[in-house]
Symmetry: C2
Subunit: 127 residues, 2 copies
DNA sequence: CGGGGCACTTACAAAAAGGTGCATACTTGT
DNA sequence: ACAAGTATGCACCTTTTTGTAAGTGCCCCG
């Protein structure tokens, strides 16, 4: 029996599938991971940290993470708006599962760079 | 300077970013993970395992994984075509980093199911 | 008063991802 | 002889995702 991990995987083929669907979204893992390594952050801080994301994207993903119970948003209802974001316990545990991926990336940075260099020149050849 | 993990992260904000760009693609992590838990698999077997993917998608992702050096394809050049796929050492190590995500998913299946149930009814309300 | 920052929001593109269906060339099973 | 299976390739189209640019209301600063 190949693909099955536990009972009652509603619609998922396995736990990995479930997790992936939850964090699908270009910036979500990055947001979770960033939040994991320092208490709550204000919107602007996140904005500057995940620097390639636009406001629209960042907000959208934050909203989804919040709706999914991974992130907690606190609005201080102050006059110049002040809001911050932090992980919920669930989000924190997920972020923990992300750590190996981060380590893998830093450990294999050279290989990864080579891969991307090749993608580039493959793309270049097509023109 | 907030987001940095090591030196020389070419274009990435951190190792996680690098890893994510490598495995971006709806089926890639699943393919890697599946290959990781049993020797090489023939195309047809993968096809049946990752059951929601179409031929087109599966092939596309396999090619990318191969080009990126994560998967090794062996074509036996036989008459009814016979081909199989296996992980390279690099791919195998990446698959290892995926394990915690899978475990997280199975351990928090209930929460995840609840999340998806809510997404459903949110979607329903919009109509 | 003008400019800038805050935390968003909205309308509108553009791009990426995914799906469908048909075709190949050959073999084995019925 | 005909259907089915094998591992893809290709064209076309729809859906989903991501990005861009501008705008909002309010305040503080010089």
């Amino acid at each position: 029996m190949e693909g099955n991990c536990t009972p009652t995987l509603a619609g998922f083929t396995c736990g990995l599938d479930a997790t992936l669907r939850l964090i699908a979204g270009k910036w979500k893992p990055l947001i979770l991971y960033f939040l994991a390594q320092g208490g709550p952050y204000r919107y602007g801080e996140l904005r500057r940290a995940v620097r390639d994301a636009s406001d629209k994207m960042l907000i959208q993903q934050l909203k989804e993470l919040e709706a999914d119970g991974l992130v907690k948003r606190t609005d201080y209802k102050e006059v110049p708006p002040r809001v911050d974001y932090d992980l919920t316990p669930l989000g924190r545990s997920l972020a923990g599962a992300l750590v190996p991926l981060c380590s893998w990336g830093t450990e294999h940075l050279e290989e990864v760079n080579r891969v991307f260099a090749e993608r580039e020149n493959w793309a270049a050849k097509c023109r």
